[in-house]
């Protein structure tokens, strides 16, 4: 379990990173926290000729309030730093709630927010949070800077919309809105494992107590994190009720997803977990939104 030989570069500005990316093309790999990349190199599944270490690059690790009241997280912000940040807890409680589910404390000490998203593991928690919140990422490349919405960023199994020569620099999370509530839940084999199914739910209720928006993002149910549209449809425009969240759960588990079996969970079990977790997460999210849940159908 030793990596193949590689050249190592340690630039300290974003410009230099872009320059090196341009020079080496797909021969190069960016190194963030290394928690996913280094194991794949040690297994020799990845054999980059050049490793461009982002750890010395300045300006990629700040946590700031955005102009619109949302949050901007540098790509190199460690998962543990975000987890402990008062600003994150205040501005994006769903992110703070979810981070403890990402791997283990030791891994979060090194693992970065940007690395986690760029890695785009369909079992990762943070991509689902991004989808549920309608967040976006900023990337810089040879043609300058662009912004990519979460819905467009995760393109497939470990696939993103990042193009060759591009660097993810920042994550932008929208501000909280009045009447909003979120929740994250997952079932994993052990604490810190990738989940068998997980769900990030974000709902917004209007002053009349009707569900105005429901974004339900699921992980570990397909080749990439996905929004459960049919589940949302059970709720939007309706007054939230236990019957409605139950229906949303069933829609998510039985219609929205098309999961695969693996050694930890069968198709039936995954569907069932999605059904249960969506119901539970929505119930919690509506409660946090201050929405009074009715009993029966709305």
């Amino acid at each position: 379990m030793k990596p193949a030989p590689f050249e190592y570069r340690r630039p300290d500005t974003v410009e230099e990173v872009l320059h090196l990316l341009a020079e080496y093309g797909d021969e190069a790999k960016l190194l963030a926290g290394g928690q996913s990349l280094i194991p794949t190199m040690n297994f020799r599944l990845a054999q980059p000729a050049v490793l461009i270490d982002l750890n010395a690059v300045k300006g990629l690790d700040s946590v700031d309030e955005a102009d619109d009241g949302g949050l901007r997280l540098g790509a190199m912000v460690r998962q543990a730093a975000a987890e402990r940040s008062a600003l994150v807890a205040e501005k994006v409680p769903l992110l703070a709630e979810t981070l403890p589910f990402v791997a283990h404390a030791q891994i979060r000490n090194r693992g970065t927010i940007g690395g986690n998203l760029a890695h785009a593991d369909p079992r990762s928690e943070l991509p689902a949070v991004m989808l549920a919140l309608g967040a976006s990422v900023r990337v810089r490349g040879p043609d300058g800077e662009r912004s990519i919405g979460a819905g467009d960023f995760f393109t497939g199994f470990f696939g993103t919309a990042l193009e060759e020569g591009e660097l993810l620099t920042e994550v932008v999370l929208p501000p909280a809105v009045e009447g909003g509530g979120q929740a994250f839940l997952e079932v994993s084999r052990r604490l810190g494992d990738y989940a068998m199914v997980g769900v990030a739910a974000s709902v917004v209720c209007d002053p009349a107590g009707r569900c105005h928006r429901a974004s339900i993002a699921l992980l570990s149910v397909g080749s990439r994190p996905m929004l459960a549209e049919q589940a949302s449809a059970c709720l939007v425009g309706e007054r939230p009720s236990s019957a409605a969240v139950l229906a949303a759960g069933h829609a998510a588990g039985n219609k929205d997803i098309d999961p695969q079996a693996d050694m930890h969970a069968s198709v039936a079990y995954r569907r069932h977990l999605a059904t249960v977790l969506v119901r539970r997460a929505l119930t919690a999210a509506f409660e946090r939104a201050g929405c009074v849940m009715g009993e029966g159908a709305s």
Binding site: A4, R44, R189, R190, H264, S266, Y269, V276
Partner: protein, 784 residues
């Protein structure tokens, strides 16, 4: 100065300071100048004809010193030893296929080594592995146990013409006759799988041939340094005195490090001799899943015949056992299954038949428990089903069948793994069961807690099972005790040590005899230069066999001390007492220290009596007639989330009997670790092979070891039934905790689910539990 007697006291471990401050030396901590590093080219195929290996590019790579294939080994290439010849069971079929150092024309499991590269660094060695061009013609693969025996199955060892590794029948009484008189017969099919040992430290070897003094030193993560030395000397054509094997601190053994000789173990020393330089190989975790023995599946068809009161009339069990690709460890694992199935019960009639089969997978040799869990699972499950069918309480049916103290020694009339008859030395099972039931609150749980929880929609279940463990088998171990002029005591023994606390427990035994502080007894073990005779650490035997040898040697030294002191102090031996490192004339302040006596015992001038031996030193050996039988009862309460099938353990109780406790803290630690291992085997760990013999989860990402959050607090209590077979009255405990956990989970989960399903298999997981309850298909890929 600690309080005597030490035996029985939970004294702090002598080795803690070294281990906890990171000063303890493990094999990979040994750095010698000029060391070369080896990496192995391993087969990607489970079964195939090895047509060619082109190593020329690898040999040319800068930094590569040598590359060896089977062909390059010349005469050194040969089959390894049969480590444990099978017991003389009448009618036994046993087909031997022992390991080879490097595959020659056939590969028979994924990960089988085919070539070894030796280079200036492990990095370069691994780079060079990619330079080797391998041509393997894949052959049909044998994965499943039943498939292996099908007439059209491919055959793994052509010379044998069959995939049968062994077939054995052991009988006691007449099962069929007993069955015909039974009130009730319960019969079921069971499937019980296990997994890896998962030692924190993988295997590793550093060999250093010194051409100037013609000595070979080998640091090896082995549980058996002395047999390794003997075998290496023989194979390499050296005197045993030319070979020193050191097994320093080991990061866990758990059985697979008792296996010998692994291919790496015969090759690394040979390479060091060829190259005249130190050569190191440290197994990485990815290799370990393929290259180190593990334990796996057995398929049982079993039945239990009982009378109307639930008394056992007889048991019949027919099972298949997965040997893997070779069987160098004989039939130890299935024999353990066969013998341990009988448990603490009176079983007048027994028919047990097994077929061990070769499959294209890593070899199976003992892992903590070593087949015992499979047998316990079958027996405990059968008792549960019989209890249910007869409407008898599950604790009650066990009590009715326990052997009683007046039935010991109890001869089961079949042969155990050590080729001796299976005779239980001593035991008292009823008090342990009663204590466990009381500790877990059996009655209150069933009558109050569980109904209340059920009313609230919660799924709470209780399990309570018992088991025995044959421990402490021969042949022998030895120990040498010497008092040094410093007054400190040096104790050397031949068993290796892998974290069991031997530096403390052996010292306690000796300190009690010699009246010294336990920290003044320095234990040397795991180094053939310190002690030359012995076998190793296996079968929960360290304290029983080596501990008894320590005790015997200390008694002889005590006699020498008293004799010499009686002369020095001019007092009768009966008037002397030994304490605090001095010999004192009782009731006076006349005394002499052990250090002074040690000096006197080794005079530089003058004359001694003819026949006198120098020093306050003695060596003793202890070889028990047969093994000791430890036992225990485990109980637990689990809760299942009815929606997600997640399982949490609410309470875990162990009542254990390993005879006299030398150090209760260390014993509890052994039990805690064993239970954790058992929890892993029951609910987390599984080696998942596909139909091509590929292991699908060869990393700790998907092979799930239980972590701190999965292992509950355990409430542990003891019953002490001393063994009559050794002077200390001790029994082994190393494997105990791991043995009954699968059976316990099964009963508790079934109880929580109110009998909605019968649990006939291990391991389980939330997903598997869900599929069982809902009748949905589990992962189609998990073939075996």
């Amino acid at each position: 100065m600690g309080a005597h007697p030490y035996v029985g006291a939970g004294v702090v471990r002598n080795e803690d300071a070294q281990l906890l401050t990171g000063r303890a030396i493990f094999v990979d901590d040994v750095h010698l100048a000029g060391t070369l590093h080896a990496a192995f080219l391993r087969s990607d195929f489970a079964h195939g004809r090895l047509l060619s290996l082109d190593t020329s590019a690898a040999r040319r790579r800068e930094g590569v010193i040598a590359v060896y294939t089977a062909e390059d080994l010349g005469d050194y290439w040969c089959h390894g030893p049969l480590l444990v010849p099978p017991p003389p069971i009448a009618g036994l079929t046993f087909n031997t296929a022992t390991l080879v150092p490097l595959a020659r024309d056939r590969v028979v499991h994924v990960g089988e080594p085919m070539a070894v590269v030796v280079a200036e660094s492990r990095y370069i060695a691994e780079d060079a592995l990619e330079d080797i061009v391998v041509d393997i013609e894949p052959l049909p693969v044998v994965v499943g146990l039943e498939e292996a025996l099908a007439p059209d199955s491919p055959v793994i060892h052509e010379a044998l013409g069959t995939n049968v590794a062994a077939h054995a029948v052991q009988r006691k009484g007449d099962y069929e006759a007993a069955r015909s008189e039974a009130h009730t017969v319960v019969s079921r099919k069971f499937s019980y799988d296990r997994g890896v040992a998962g030692s924190l430290e993988n295997r590793g070897i550093l060999a250093d041939w010194n051409p100037r003094n013609e000595e070979l030193t080998v640091w090896d993560t082995t549980q058996a340094p002395i047999p390794i030395r003997n075998g290496l000397a023989e194979r390499l054509g050296l005197l045993q005195s030319q070979v020193r094997v050191v097994a320093p601190f080991l990061g866990g053994g758990f059985g697979p490090k008792m296996m010998m000789f692994y291919p790496e173990e015969v090759l690394i020393p040979w390479i060091s001799m060829r190259l005249g330089r130190p050569v190191k190989w440290i197994e990485d975790r990815a290799e370990s899943f393929f290259a180190t023995a593990n334990e796996r599946l057995q398929l049982h068809e079993a039945e239990l015949a009982v009378d109307s009161e639930g008394r056992i009339l007889g048991v019949k069990d027919v099972f298949l056992h997965d040997s893997g690709a070779y069987d160098p460890y004989g039939i130890t694992v299935p024999i353990n299954t066969q013998c341990t199935l009988l448990g603490p019960y009176r079983v007048p009639n027994y028919y047990s038949e097994f077929t061990a089969v070769f499959t294209n997978k890593t070899i199976v040799t003992p892992v903590r428990g070593a087949g015992r869990q499979h047998g316990v699972f079958v027996m405990e499950r059968l008792l549960d089903f019989a209890a249910k069918e007869l409407g008898i309480d599950r604790v009650e049916i066990r009590k009715r069948n326990f052997l009683t103290p007046d039935e010991f020694p109890h001869n089961h009339e079949i042969l155990f793994q050590d080729s001796a008859p299976l005779v239980y030395d001593s035991g008292d099972y009823l008090p342990a069961m009663e204590k466990a039931a009381e500790m877990i609150g059996y009655r209150e749980f069933l009558e109050e807690e569980q109904p209340k929880a059920r009313d609230a929609g919660r799924q709470l279940g209780l399990g309570i099972v018992s088991y025995v463990e044959g421990t402490g088998i021969g042949p022998y171990e030895g120990a040498r005790v010497s008092v040094e002029p410093s007054g400190k005591v040096q104790l050397a023994t031949g068993v290796g040590t892998q974290g069991q606390g031997h530096f403390t427990t052996f010292a306690q035994i000796v300190a009690d005899q010699l009246g010294v502080d336990v920290t003044d007894v320095n234990v040397a073990t795991g180094d053939t230069r310190e002690f030359s005779w012995g076998t190793g650490t296996f079968a929960s035997r360290g304290i029983v066999v080596a501990g008894s040898a320590c005790h015997e040697a200390a008694i002889v030294v005590r006699k020498k001390i008293l004799a010499l002191a009686s002369e020095a102090l001019e007092a009768a031996e009966d008037d002397l007492e030994l304490a605090d490192g001095v010999v004192r004339v009782k009731g006076s302040d006349l005394s002499i220290s052990l250090g002074e006596l040690a000096v006197r015992a080794n005079p530089l001038r003058g004359t001694v009596e003819p026949g006198a031996e120098p020093g306050l030193e003695a060596t003793s050996y202890f070889g028990p007639a047969r093994g000791t039988t430890a036992s225990g009862v485990h109980a637990m309460i689990v809760e299942i989330d009815p929606e997600t099938s997640e399982v949490s353990i609410q309470r875990y109780v162990v009542v254990h009997d390993c005879g006299r406790l030398v150090n209760p803290v260390i014993v509890d630690g052994q039990i805690h670790g064993g239970v954790a291992h058992g929890i892993g085997n029951a609910f987390f760990e599984e080696l998942v092979y596909d139909d091509q013999g590929q292991l699908l989860n060869a990393s700790f990402m998907d092979y799930l070891l239980p972590t701190a959050t999965d292992v509950p607090h355990m409430e542990v209590a003891h019953v002490e039934t001393p063994s009559p077979l050794n002077p200390l009255g001790v029994k082994g405990v190393g494997e105990a905790g791991a043995i009954p956990v699968g059976a316990l989970y099964a009963q508790a989960l079934e109880d929580a689910l109110q009998g909605a399903v019968e649990i006939l298999e291990m391991p389980l997981s939330p997903g598997r539990l869900f599929d069982l309850v809902h009748g949905t298909p589990s992962d189609p890929e998990a073939a075996s």
